[in-house]
């Protein structure tokens, strides 16, 4: 079941191509035969009930699942046509190109400045002025500069949940990834902070390809261009968000979207 996004979608550019993907936690199969194209400069949302594999799948896209013991992956994931799981590919490069924002905001117990500068420093940037410029740029892009510009050297731990999450987004933006993966970035936030993150996502897609996992169907409808529905480790249906939410092709999708299960 190929969703033929390339023909129905306004852009023909596919950023990430997933083919025949299976994923296992130990002996247990968590993802089964996933095929999906993720378009460039669009927001792609993964929806589905808890435990359906959407977060697991997201973490396959930047090889973060490799930090979990006893996992195994089959199939191919191409980033701009290159297999990110090929033996000669350095996982560090993959993660620099495919950034990630986690479900629970996880700022480091460092200053706001050092949080955003972290990725630059570990990538070997030494020039202090350049670091300062990039940090400011990233904080502006993450729509939090105005709130923190006078307290850059205070601990990021003192910020509110929503602010922390935007610091984490700024941190991801600083190393200029091509793709940003967001794992339920607003699930722990209040409606106002959520709105800020959603607005931000809309703004960011002009420069980045964004993939977001969400529990919240309204959120998927609001922010995404393409929606993929997962259930029990399988990709059930994927299409333009408008189509998915107005004319889902499969009964399962319709039942989930209308709230009859999940």
């Amino acid at each position: 079941m190929f969703p033929l996004l390339s023909s129905t979608h306004p852009t023909n550019n596919i950023k990430i191509t997933v083919r025949d993907l299976n994923f296992y936690y130990g002996p247990q199969k968590a993802l089964e035969n996933i095929n999906l194209d993720i378009p460039s400069y669009q927001v792609t949302a993964f929806i589905g009930p808890s435990g359906c594999g959407k977060s697991t799948f997201l973490r396959c896209l930047n090889r973060m699942n490799e930090t979990i013991l006893d996992t195994r992956i089959e199939g191919t994931i191409l980033l701009d046509g290159e297999d990110i799981y090929a033996p000669e590919v350095d996982v560090v490069d993959v993660r620099r190109r495919v950034g990630m924002v986690f479900q629970k905001s996880n700022p480091f117990p460092k200053t706001i400045f050092e949080n955003v500068a972290y990725g630059l420093r570990i990538n070997g940037m030494k020039d202090k002025r350049k670091i300062a410029e990039t940090v400011e740029r990233s904080l502006i892009d993450a729509a939090i500069w105005e709130e923190v510009k006078d307290r850059l050297y205070e601990s990021a731990m003192g910020l509110s949940g929503g602010q922390q999450q935007r610091i984490c987004i700024a941190r991801a933006l600083a190393i200029k990834p091509e793709v940003i993966l967001m794992d339920e970035p607003a699930s722990a936030l209040d409606p106002l902070a959520t709105k800020k993150i959603e607005d931000l996502i809309q703004k960011l897609k002009t420069e980045y390809t964004i993939v977001i996992v969400t529990h919240n169907m309204q959120q998927a409808a609001r922010v995404s261009d393409v929606t993929a529905f997962f259930y029990l480790g399988k990709l059930i249906e994927v299409n333009e968000t408008q189509t998915i939410f107005t004319k889902p092709q499969l009964k399962q999708t319709e039942e989930y979207i209308t709230g009859r299960f999940g």
């Binding site: 930090t67 560090v92 986690f102 996880n106 117990p109 601990s155 984490c168 190393i175």
Partner: protein, 286 residues
């Protein structure tokens, strides 16, 4: 009173009695040593060598000896323990080999210290030709503290949330970068605490140093790490059991015990201070 209330009261009382007993024993020991040893404490006692067949003078060589041996112990055991813990907790594939290593470490902590002493003789004194020396003794005590150091270091690493590692990795950090910049800074105080507590135990050991370098009596201070040395626990043992006039040197024995206990107490205070500060920091990070 209802029967349940009586049982409750009895249980509660026995718990309190048991707890207080522990405190009582500790303070009993401390008070006894303090009472008997305080009279000999003086600047002379701390700054001079023993004289007249240990019946006069001080215990400076033993203090210096214990200090130097402890230093070698730290230098040898802390890096080794930390690196092992980092490997076991961060890098190693959690399979049979790691289980075997962990099991070995746990059993190592149960090996009697006298056996460490024999092993130290075979390995450091004989095989490595360090002779009976500060170096041999320090390294033997280092081995003795390794299980503590490794276990405490692993526990410290485990308290650093996975999100610190994941956050760094997701930004393109290599595993070592993530550990060095985002795990170790938060784990090192805990690691040091464990190491210091291990050292505090080692500093009071007698059997391992008895075989590997501690001497009955050397009035002069050691000049190199390959010299034999006097040490507080061994000196205490001699004064308490081996001296020809035990009654006469008894106060000196108590004085030595007091110095040894004060030294170990100091080490514990350092460990507790580090841990306390670290806890406060860790709480802020939550």
């Amino acid at each position: 009173m209802k029967p349940q209330a009586i049982t409750e009261k009895l249980g509660f009382t026995s718990l309190i009695v048991a707890s207080l007993l522990v405190v009582l024993i500790l303070f009993g020991i401390l008070a006894n040593i303090f009472y008997n040893g305080f009279s000999v404490l003086s600047w002379e006692f701390l700054s001079q060598s023993p004289r007249d067949g240990m019946t006069a003078g001080g215990i400076l060589p033993a203090i210096v000896g214990t200090f130097l041996v402890s230093l070698i112990t730290i230098i040898f055991a802390v890096p080794l323990g930390m690196f092992s813990a980092i490997y076991l907790n961060e890098y190693a594939h959690q399979g049979k080999l790691v289980r075997l290593i962990r099991l070995s470490i746990r059993n190592l902590s149960g090996v009697p210290s006298v056996v460490y002493g024999l092993f130290g003789v075979a390995l450091f004194v004989r095989l490595f030709h360090f002779g009976a020396s500060i170096l041999s003794s320090g390294m033997t005590l280092g081995l003795l503290t390794l299980p503590w150091t490794i276990t405490a270091s692993e526990e410290a690493l485990k308290t650093v949330p996975k999100s610190f590692r994941d956050g760094a990795l997701a930004l393109g950090a290599t595993q070592w970068q993530a550990i060095r910049t985002n795990v170790l800074p938060y784990a090192i105080p805990g690691m040091l605490t464990g190491a210091i507590l291990g050292l505090a135990r080692a500093a009071g050991e007698t059997a391992p140093i008895l075989f590997t370098g501690a001497a009955f009596s050397i009035p002069s201070l050691p000049k190199s790490l390959f010299d034999q040395f006097m040490a507080l626990p061994y000196h205490l043992y001699i004064l308490a059991t081996q001296h020809q006039d035990i009654q006469k040197v008894r106060p000196i024995a108590y004085g030595t015990a007091l110095v040894l206990i004060a030294l170990i107490l100091c080490l514990n205070v350092v460990a507790i201070t580090i841990r306390y500060r670290y806890r406060k920091k860790a709480r802020m990070a939550k």
